[in-house]
């Protein structure tokens, strides 16, 4: 490597108090292009709040966010909307639009936000749905899809916006065990295709094999960070390893 890469996303000193409780205590992180960083940690650690603060779905009390050297002025609505278009977000409970079928779920933001023509949006949406293996399900409504299929539609919906980075908030936590694999394989394809991502998850095996860096969060802070090899091996003596081995005792996972 000739010179250090400039980070594509930089987050500094994010603080958030919700209902009198300090959820995030000055969290900072940065992400290079093509990196996959995995957030692990117990529930209530602040992972979900952190991800939602990054694209200001929850406005942070303090802290700054840069995307490619431009600081996001979240007070300027127009800038904020433009920023969010470049950051894809995947939710634990999918949040597909219940009144739209799979195709329309993917196409609606293309038409309304990106101002694409109906036909162009449709073509693009079909392509994205095919990419996540749902080319034959495009006319089905959310209620007619399985959990895994819903999450894949939501990934296609985010990808269709051609985001520079993606934030994935426990994308497999609401799924039945037999449906987790299909979603993880889509995420794996993304990672191998060079998508820049922050993933909050409890899937340790997946993390170990694909993460560039693991961030372990507890009580609103990132308390450990490093490569999976360093953090997630028995001789690391890390909090992360401790946590993961306890997770593994609870349920043996495949992946």
């Amino acid at each position: 490597m000739t010179k250090p890469k400039k980070p594509i996303l930089r987050v500094e000193n994010i603080c958030k108090i919700l209902g009198g409780k300090e959820i995030l205590k000055s969290v900072s992180l940065s992400l290079n292009k093509g990196e996959l960083k995995v957030l692990i940690g117990p529930s209530g650690a602040g992972k979900s709040t952190l991800l939602q603060c990054i694209n200001f779905l929850i406005p942070p009390d303090k802290g700054r966010v840069w995307l490619e050297e431009t600081e996001i002025q979240n007070r300027k609505k127009r800038d904020l909307y433009a920023f969010r278009q470049q950051v894809g977000m995947i939710f634990q409970d999918f949040n597909l639009f219940d009144h739209l079928n799979a195709l329309e779920n993917v196409a609606i933001a293309l038409r309304k936000v990106k101002k694409m023509s109906r036909q162009a949006a449709r073509d693009h949406a079909v392509a994205e749905l095919e990419r996540v293996g749902l080319g034959d399900k495009i006319t089905l409504y959310p209620a007619e899809l399985s959990g895994g299929q819903k999450q894949r539609v939501s990934i296609a919906r985010a990808l269709a916006m051609e985001p520079k980075i993606m934030l994935l908030d426990e994308p497999t936590s609401a799924l039945d065990p037999e449906l987790i694999g299909e979603v993880l394989s889509v995420i794996r394809d993304l990672a191998q295709g060079g998508m820049t991502m922050i993933l909050a998850t409890h899937q340790i095996g997946f993390t170990r094999s694909l993460a560039d860096e693991v961030l372990f969060m507890e009580n609103g802070r990132i308390i450990e960070q490093g490569s999976p090899k360093d953090l997630l091996s028995p001789d690391a003596c890390s909090r992360s390893w401790d946590f993961c081995s306890r997770l593994n005792e609870l349920h043996e996972e495949g992946v």
Partner: protein, 221 residues
């Protein structure tokens, strides 16, 4: 029974009245629904002052008889130097009243929409306004449809009140003939039949609409 009374007097008069009734119902129904959607949205998402005002409006118009509202508009406003003709007063009264009732259904259905729907739209860069238009309102309208449909049916029936403020529609035309001929039973039976047909047709159309707009797994609020 002399059929001539029906064919020569009653039916032509009632048909004339029916046209007037429809002229009252259609604009009131459409604008009333739009007003209801706006007010219902403000009542749910407006800032505190706006919300209070919209709530106050809805409570006021839902808490008082439509007749009182019509009298205020037609007989009361001239006290302030505002003169509305009977038709305008009736339409304005119907719009304001049905808007208040619609807003109640819209509000209920908006409150039933999960927060995740907002989050997902916002995360893709939808502005608040666009989120409302493309995601929230289309869902809310579907959930509010049974209630709002009922309200349209009510409007059809309550359009008969226009005659009290001298806007002569179906009921008014019939009442004049009944008073002149003393044939109350026949006349009001026939008028009742006209309304029954209108209401039954409207229910049928609304049911069709509900089926058409139905989305799998997307039930009533």
């Amino acid at each position: 029974m002399d059929t001539i009374f029906f064919t020569d007097q009653l039916i032509p008069a009632l048909n004339r009245g029916l046209v007037m009734s429809i002229k009252l119902i259609i604009p009131s129904g459409l604008i009333g629904l739009m007003l209801g959607i706006v007010i219902g949205t403000l009542r749910t998402f407006g800032h505190s002052a706006v919300r209070k005002a919209a709530n106050g409006y809805a409570t006021l118009f839902r808490g008082t008889p439509l007749v009182v509202q019509l009298f205020l508009l037609y007989f009361g406003l001239p006290n302030l130097g505002i003169y509305l003709d009977a038709y305008t007063a009736a339409v304005v009264g119907f719009i304001l009243c049905s808007g208040a009732y619609h807003s109640e259904y819209i509000r209920g259905s908006l409150l039933s929409i999960k927060k995740g729907q907002f989050l997902a739209a916002q995360s893709m860069g939808f502005s608040t306004f666009k989120t409302m238009c493309s995601i929230i309102v289309p869902q809310a309208v579907r959930r509010a449809l049974p209630g709002c449909g009922n309200e349209i049916i009510y409007l059809i029936k309550y359009s008969s009140l226009a005659y009290i403020i001298t806007c002569i529609e179906l009921t008014g035309e019939g009442k004049m003939i009944a008073t002149r001929t003393f044939r109350y039973t026949e006349v009001f039976m026939v008028i009742g039949f006209y309304y029954l047909v209108l209401v039954t047709m409207a229910s049928f159309v609304l049911q069709k609409l509900e089926v058409r707009l139905k989305i799998p797994g997307f039930g009533k609020a």
